[in-house]
Structure formats: C-alpha cells, structure tokens
Symmetry: C2
Subunit: 299 residues, 2 copies
C-alpha cells in the first residue's frame, strides 16, 4: 500500500505564465511589424454567473498579453479589426446554439467549434483553421510535462462536443491509441484500471477514487465541479472527476483542479488569437498553423 502522496503535480499556473509571456512577446512583435493589435469579440447572452466569470477571466487574460477584447455587438464577421469571435456557451435555452455558432465565420472561430473546423480536425491531411482550446490545452500540457503520448494507450472519459470528441481526434492525430469511455460504457473501471494515461472530462465530482486507477498513471482532470463546502467562505469548493488526494498517492502525474487544465484553455485561446492575425498577414508562413504551439513559440 502506498500511503504518502508521491505524484508529481502539474503546475498549470506557472506553465501558463510562461505561455502568456511567449504570446505577449508575439503580440508585441506583431504590433511593431504590422501595427495590428489582436481583438477578440465575446458574445455573452443571458445572466449566468459562471458565464460572467469565464468571460471575465478571458478578458483579463487577453489584457495580460495585449489582446483587446470587447462585448458590444456589431457585424463581427465583416469587421476587419476583429480577429476572433467567441460565443460563451451555454446560451439561454430559448436560443438555438447551433444557429448562433453557424453564423460565426470559420476564419474567426477561435474556439474551433465550427463543424467545418471539427471535420478538418477529424481528417488526416486536413488542417482546421483553429483547434478547440481545451483539447489543445490538454495535449500542450502533456507535451510540456514531457509525457510522450505517441503510440501510447490513452483513455478519455466523457464524450462531449466541446472536450471529449475533439480531444479524442487530437490524440488520434498524435498517434495515440485512444479508447473513449462515456456515461453508457459498461464497467468503465475495468478499462481505467488497466491504463497509464487517463483524461477525465465527465463532470462527476470525485467520481473516481484511488482503487480505480493504476499505480504510476498519468491523470488529467479536465472538468471543474463545484461541490458544497460549509467550511469554505464561498460555501463551495471546486473538485475534479478524480479525487485529488487519492490520486496524489497513486498516480505519477496529476493535474490539480482548478489550476490545471482550465488556465491552459485560456492560454490556447490567446494563442489562437495570435494565429488568426498571423494567418491573415503572413499567409505563406506555414509555421503559424493551428497545431504548432510548441514549434511556433520555439523560434
């Protein structure tokens, strides 16, 4: 039995700090070279508290790397001073999400949710204009922590349009051997117990305890779940799908919640913004493609 925590905890925050510095330097170079400041349009409908918080965090992140963001409405698709359009999901239930998402031009779809971007992501030999931010964040995080996923078996838990499906497609592009476990999978623990790299995006707080994961595995907690906590001043705390304390004692690498994948998501949004401008102004420079965060910041 292993009693003491021994997992290496992924420090999403300092990783993101480094990425933001790289993006900030890129944005500064762009401003000097072509006098363009990246501008992100955020479409926020309704009054959900969590959506306000997400938008606020994205706004602050943009400011930190000299990207402008704003929320008033205009014809963002045609406005040449807007380089990215983000529809904060979920929309209020009386609004058809598909109809709204479909009108965002693929050229400014910095969230990467347009079906044409998803289709290209799925197809070998094709490239989306933008990769979805959370999936790219997961992969980037694994890369930067030196976790080799090529030829490795990876289990992804939770199928969704925003995270599960595009992450599976990205992992596939990286030559991982992917199994997708979802809410209707029979005996999921039979699968999770066997494998070394598991990405959890189910949205069930502390669903997985130690017994379901393998000694020495790599555990990525994507979803952030609020649970009641009378002892906290906010009356709640945020936890992952995997019980963090238990995972720390068993896993080799584990991402904390909330400071693991979520700051990476926002960092990748910023990176998509910079890519949007580079594609427009340097269309023949192939180093500015959607998937090459590592390569592209290496130079």
């Amino acid at each position: 039995m292993v009693a003491e925590p021994f997992a290496k905890v992924i420090d999403g925050k300092s990783m993101v700090k480094q990425i933001r510095e790289e993006i900030s330097a890129e944005a500064a170079k762009l401003k000097e070279a072509i006098e363009v400041v990246p501008r992100l349009a955020v479409i926020l409908v309704g009054d959900r508290m969590d959506s306000f918080t997400y938008v606020w965090n994205k706004k602050k992140a943009c400011e930190s790397v000299r990207i402008k963001s704003f929320e008033y409405n205009s014809d963002f698709n045609c406005d040449p001073s807007v380089h990215g359009i983000l529809v904060q999901l979920p929309l209020p239930s009386h609004i058809n999400e598909q109809n709204i998402l479909n009108v965002v031009t693929i050229k400014k779809d910095v969230d990467g949710f347009h079906p044409l971007n998803i289709g290209r992501l799925a197809m070998r030999g094709r490239e989306p204009l933008f990769g979805p931010c959370t999936p790219k964040g997961c992969i980037e995080l694994l890369h930067r922590y030196g976790v080799d996923i090529k030829r490795k078996r990876v289990i992804f838990i939770g199928w969704s349009n925003i995270v599960g499906m595009p992450t599976a497609l990205l992992l596939q592009r990286e030559d991982a051997t992917v199994t997708i476990v979802h809410s209707r999978t029979k005996n999921p623990e039979e699968i999770t117990r066997q494998e070394n790299i598991i990405i959890f995006a189910m949205g069930q707080p502390n669903m997985v305890r130690g017994s379901r994961i393998k000694l020495g595995s790599i555990i990525i907690n994507v979803r952030i779940n609020p649970i009641e906590d009378a002892s906290s001043p906010r009356r709640y705390q945020l936890v992952g799908d995997v019980c963090y304390d238990k995972a720390c004692k068993i896993a080799m690498v584990v991402t904390p919640v909330p400071r693991g994948v979520s700051p990476m998501t926002i960092a990748l949004l910023l990176s998509n913004m910079v890519s949007s401008i580079k594609r427009e102004f340097y269309p023949f420079d192939s180093s500015y493609t959607w998937g090459n965060l590592l390569v592209y910041f290496a130079g």
Copy 2:
C-alpha cells in the same frame, strides 16, 4: 481446441438484395409521386483498373434500383437534375484531392466525405446531410444481423478518412465504447485478444490469424486485399485482413471477403441517393434523415 468451422457467416449478398429491393420500391414511389428519377454523377479521372471496376459496380447497382448514373462533365453542383456527385478516389497523384472534393456541394455529397459532413457526424446534436457509405454499411450490417453494439466495446483497426475515422464516429453515436487501433499502436494483439466485436480495415492481407482473436467474437472484414494466386484463372484472389478460414473456426460471426461489407457500401450509396431527393422534395419529413436506414425503410 476448436477444429471445425462454427462461425455464422454474414451473407452480405442476400442482405444487399433485400436493401436494394427496398430502395427500388422507394425510387418507384418517388417517380410516381413527383416524377423525379434519382441521378448520380460520377467523376472518374485517370485510368486505374480498380477505379473503373468500382465505378462499373456502382453503375450497375444504380441501374438495378432505377437510379440513373452518368459520367460526362457539366456543372453538377448547379444542375437540378443531378442529386448526387461522387468523385472516385484515389485521383491521379498530380491532382489535389482536397481541391476536387471541396468543390462538391454538401447537398450532393452522397459519399459523405465533405469536411462539413464529417464535422457534423462528429458532433452530438448535429446531423450530416449524408453519412459515409462504408461506415454506414458496417453498422447496418451489424444491425440487420441482430448484433447489439450499444454499450458494447468495439475495436476498430485502421484509421483512415474514408473508413476508420467516420466508422469510429458512427459507433460513438451508437453508444458503443470504441478503441481505435492503428499502424502505430504498440502490441495490438493485446487489445484484439480481449474484445468481442472487432472491425478490421487495415489493408493487410491475412494479417490476423486465429490466435489473435477471441473465441466467439464478431469479426467484420472491411478491406479487400488482392493477393497473388497462381491457381486462380485471374492469377489473384481477394482476402480480408483476417484470415477467413481461421476466423470461421473461432469467431461467432464473420463477414466474408469480397461479399461482406463491399456490397453494403454500394447499397448505402443508393440509399443516400434516395435521401437526397427526399430531402429536396419533402424537407419537413424528418424520417428521411441520413442515419435512419432501418426506420426509414420500415414504413
């Protein structure tokens, strides 16, 4: 040890005969109701013998269900008398496949290869206008043989834009738990030996012998591989990725090659042609959607 063949062999040919009869009746009804005969445009470039054969087979299949097909060139996208456009792949190497496929309007993309169709296929809550024919053929074949895939673990061997990827997406929509094994997977036999439903689409003749599959499993052979055979009048024979004789002794259900999945592919193309017209003339009848072959022919 099991010595005698005991697998139930899937009779693709008689299954297809039944489907074609159903489609033929549908086409006849359409002709009577709206005086429209489905027309398929086939774009064939170059002189590959296998492509000629495939096109010839599709043409004969169309004729058998009163769908017209033709090959001369015009502006197929705008021609209202054309209901489906099919680009026979692969194209000669000097032609950019992507550029050709991209110009086929999604409304006539009866092969389902347009990235927008693939993107919608990947996304829950979205529907492609057409599902790719071979993947739909595999699923239809399993359904019609009474193989329940919901909540079952399914292994797909071989990732490709035409078969592997869209089949994995379709299986996912059917709530199967999918693992994709590909050419870079380490120790694939460890995975194949464990599971009950395995779809092979690798393109390696007789790659899998009996020892790698489980007693009582369900084996779908998608790819057709020619191998030299001096004893055959044609000097070659067609085999699957799984050695058929061996599989027959170990599997519970097995598809033969060439008469298993390949006739289903063509049958599903015919079905997509009929759907194309129904969508145009009965846009509000939701029973004519891309995925409902069973439901749609039940009435």
